[in-house]
Symmetry: D2
Subunit: 376 residues, 4 copies
């Protein structure tokens, strides 16, 4: 297994989603990050590259330069991740597609319809692979839901309810220098949609992915609640599907108390299901006239689609484990702070004493046994 070579456009210091892409790329060991144009500001780009362990000759001033030069190398990257604000998706993607380098692009596709049309032409004319990271499609139970619906477990679909509620834009933080908020609420960088572009497209995509149906018509009521904001921060949308199904989407970035509340509910003639991103390891499944079942990721009665660890180990399990590995690395490199929390010999001895004394107390019919008198 030789990892593929990955490049990245955007994702330098101060960015959010770039770091997520890098962790995701590392997790299974299929990718190594070796090149990047990490910022539109060259100084920041190169500083980021250094921090990320990318060699100076693969750190570029701009995505144009990167596409041009990578295309000429024998050891060129196998794909590029584009993790910039929306308005740069199209120009960056087009540059790499024309250079014959596969593109992994964050959503939404572009900032404007015109950009989308142009990008689509280039994808089709070049034939270079193009991927869009609608990441919620990667959840194991979302894939389970898709399979269940595809094989008819729910029967004819009638009602689809999707929502994506957050509260981080409940106040005008874009005027306080919050970088993530600033570009998302700026029509020049984000496009015609605010919340509907940033998170509404996720809800739409999840509907498509899970049910296999795309809406044929919609009726919308976009609203901007925060004074001075130019793009929608709340949206109510009713949907109709050719199949006869009906749906609703609620999208909000001002719903106080909601962190990242993406949720989908699908009801068919025979059964209904419900899944929420904030509790992704289980899914409610109800057949008409039977008790509701809670399917768990990799648990009884589910396929083990896209899973890495057993049932009952929520996927954060890996991150907790990784935290130890990271702190061990830091500790070995001399960081005493990191060492502070890592379990070690004493913890192991305490565990051994525990085992021994449990066995001993049981053997003495439950007599209380002191833990401090052992040889350990």
């Amino acid at each position: 297994m030789t990892p593929l070579k990955l490049g990245m456009v955007g994702g330098g210091q101060g960015a959010f989603i770039g770091g997520v892409h890098r962790m995701a790329a590392r997790l299974d060991g299929h990718w190594t990050l070796i090149a990047g144009a990490f910022s539109s500001d060259p100084a920041r780009a190169h500083a980021s590259a250094k921090q990320l362990g990318v060699a100076p000759d693969r750190s570029y001033d701009s995505f144009e330069q990167m596409a041009a030069q990578e295309a000429t190398r024998d050891d060129r990257i196998d794909a590029v991740s584009i993790v910039t604000p929306n308005h740069l998706h199209a120009p960056a993607a087009i540059a790499f597609l024309k250079a014959g380098i596969p593109v992994i692009c964050d959503k939404p596709l572009t900032a404007t319809e015109d950009q989308a049309i142009e990008l689509a032409k280039v994808v089709r004319s070049t034939g270079t692979p193009f991927f869009l990271t609608h990441n919620y499609t990667g959840y194991p139970l979302i894939r389970e839901a898709r399979e269940m619906i595809a094989r008819g477990d729910l029967g004819q679909i009638r009602v689809i309810q999707a929502e994506y509620a957050q509260d981080w834009l409940a106040e005008a933080i874009e005027t306080d220098g919050q970088k993530q908020a600033a570009w998302r609420t700026d029509p020049a960088k984000s496009g015609a949609g605010g919340a509907i572009g940033d998170i509404g497209t996720h809800a739409l995509n999840l509907i498509n992915f899970v049910t296999g149906e795309a809406p044929s018509a919609l009726s919308a009521d976009l609203q901007s609640f925060v004074s001075g904001r130019k793009l929608d921060d709340n949206a109510h949308i009713m949907l109709r599907f050719d199949s006869g199904a009906r749906g609703m989407i609620w999208v909000s970035q001002v719903a106080v108390g909601c962190e990242n509340g993406l949720r989908i509910r699908v009801f068919g003639e025979k059964a209904g299901l419900e899944w929420a991103q904030e509790d992704p390891n289980r899914m409610k499944f109800s057949e008409l006239g039977r008790p509701t079942r809670w399917l768990t990721r990799a648990g009884a009665g589910t396929g083990a689609l896209a899973t890495r660890i057993p049932a009952g180990h929520p996927e954060g399990y890996l991150e907790a484990f990784a935290t130890l590995y990271t702190e061990i690395a830091q500790s070995l490199q001399g960081d005493q702070t990191a060492a502070r929390l890592i379990p070690g010999l004493q913890d192991g001895l305490a565990g051994m004493t525990f085992i021994t004394k449990c066995v001993r107390s049981t053997a003495k019919d439950g007599q209380w046994v002191n833990l401090g008198d052992g040889a350990l």
Copy 2:
């Protein structure tokens, strides 16, 4: 940032926890796996090495050989992970410690008290770093709980309730060739403790880590429910602490319906808290006479200890993202099956149309707008 070099003992084909260690080591980019003795069966060890991308000259027949040879190399490993059954922890760890190579050891420390005593001597005499992967200490909210208790948010601790319930050993699967079950229920490989060693030590460690207190005495009632099983598969334990606190631990591997039910509840004079591993992104915190609060990982009112992603993105978020990256890699390498589920251009165009039509419907006061008539 140059990654450290990692070796591994155990964790070859058919193993469970080795793969978890490798993913954890990769996630933050601090480690590269470059050496291993992946099995006590040399043929299986080398096949595993090949699959893992470890060079043949760093794939060893045995941990003894590995410790000896690695110790002599200039580019020797920075640490070794020991992920074997319990009875090999001590000999493997001792070999590397004596070779001056830091050890990352899975729990419990060893299979027997004698091994533990010997290992402790070697750790102390060599001074080589030794780490134990009580991985549950890496959860962000567990660290939050530890800080809260340390700074007195709960007041004097009175009652500690911990439990760790599973059901995978509810039947005698160790007699059916299930490798994970076989060694865990074999006193020769697992030691004197069954469930109490395998998962009880986690519960104990979590108590220690979170409260800063270790029990001073215990009264235990171990039981083996499955006919023919030699080690405990259920344990009831009462605890006393020097501080005056009292506690209980329930450990079970026959509790039907429990997947990986590790849970801790701590009650002090002023407040109580509760955290469950299967729902790790939130923690209940109740101050006397005030409404219960649910703290969320990286959410309002919590520190962002050991977190990688924002509140509301349960940590499985990274895994879902990683699944896309993995399938993209597989797709680029010609795997058509992998390509089947990856979002792409069409999904992006659908999203753009959605944005455009939402804006248009709103502009027309909610008129239903068809989605199929766009330029995209």
Copy 3:
């Protein structure tokens, strides 16, 4: 405290909501049922009266007769409950209002707009008290929510999400003789609205009650999914409020897996809250930038509005208690089956032994004590 005298129209054998009204009227001891026209079928009416302990001379053939005769009695009823299908609400209510007898009417008000207009005229011209049992307004935490919003805890309201989802009409059970389904899906008895009348009006009323705001405009998409059904069984509705708030209502009686899923979420500038009828003893309350709190009925931080029992005793507690009292009554009247489950002396002795032995075991430092050797 002398109970008031209650009469009832409808609610005979085979009915649902009439029995609920009777239990509700009894619970606090303020009412005694003494008269009724329990069915439009006189034979069924009188049989029902007998079963309910209503004297023959207060059991009437029709509501017209009942209103006329009760009005002339010195010991006439203090109020009448109207619990018929919708199309009879108006004529029955009008008869009693004109007779000067206060009316307690089930929702929705009437079957048609014309009836509503006529009824309103009579209420206004007679001045006789008229009450509508939008029962969800009686929940303690709903009243808490109303007070919180009224005093500004949420700030200016922005978004209101209400839903009421059931699944009992997922199939065409109205064609199978199910009486409750038959009249609810019959425009002649139910009026122009199906699900929107039956449960949508509850959702609307809850919005009004909790927020103090009524919508000023709506955009609706009603649908009838079950083949042959004449009234809506699913409805998607977008709302606008004069205050600038926006809302959505989803109503369904075909959402498989939903039993009685009434839920309301309100988001203001400063805070948000959420309450679900199926989990009515707690309410989520989130202030911007602070951890979410779960308020509990009668619990810390809430007023004890409309509560009967302490926090932590879900209101079903009373019903469980009542079941014992009912079975005791039945047992004393010779019903051996009822006696089967009632706790008695042996249970009490077991409890006393338990207490004694717990104290004894503790006194002997946790020694196991047999329970079978006591004097009890």
Copy 4:
């Protein structure tokens, strides 16, 4: 249906459980309260009687007087409820039993073992019916659980975990004049057990009721955490059953954040189940190797044992309904405050307009329709 005549000992002003008994007795209409010795203080007793609508000649100075006089009446009570502090259970019960009047006694049976022995003798010698209100046995899903276990759905029982955690005695409120706390922490009134008597006996009873098994031995660790308290406020207990099952009980009245946390989990060879009193309308049921099901009260797949209302209507539904009836009664009697929250005509008209406009908007393909322009 003629209601039975009920008497009561205790339960006067300032008491808690007496009011619960009265509401429970009224709910189904099987009982009428007509006599009582409501307090050991005659003045308080008679004032309470007046408030409860009990005639002066049936309000007694003492339970001795009450038992003696009621026994001689033709219209004597059919049963007496004893709802005093524990130390009076035995003398009061004995007085009525000897008078031939059936007794409904609150738990625990008595304050001391000696009292229990004496009471048992009287019950057995008189043959008068004696009932103990272990009210948690009345929950529908508890009865469901009992039936499931009795018919073997769980197979041979292995592990039973019960807990009952509260926090109302986390501080020494018994020294501040809190009447409920005062007698419960006073050995002279409560007996040898504090928390174990008050709530531990409920946990024990629930184990017995649900599993049909009684423990044969126990090992206990009682503790009193609050300084100066004479009886246990926390208890850890391990149990053994003759069948081979093992169990634990945790009882606490100092577990900050717990309101009335009674919970039982039972694990057998084939399946496990879990029920919590604070969420009593659903029960988790897991068969080995199958997805977990959540059974709901009166829902799909459950019998409708001891239920009054349909699935999805949590049992508090009745209380909310009752609140309206009570406020209507109060309103009709001139209480303007009560009238403030009762829905009425305007709410009904709003609902009718809503229905009409939903239908109209749908007919106009979702056009926004104003709600303020209707004839209503």
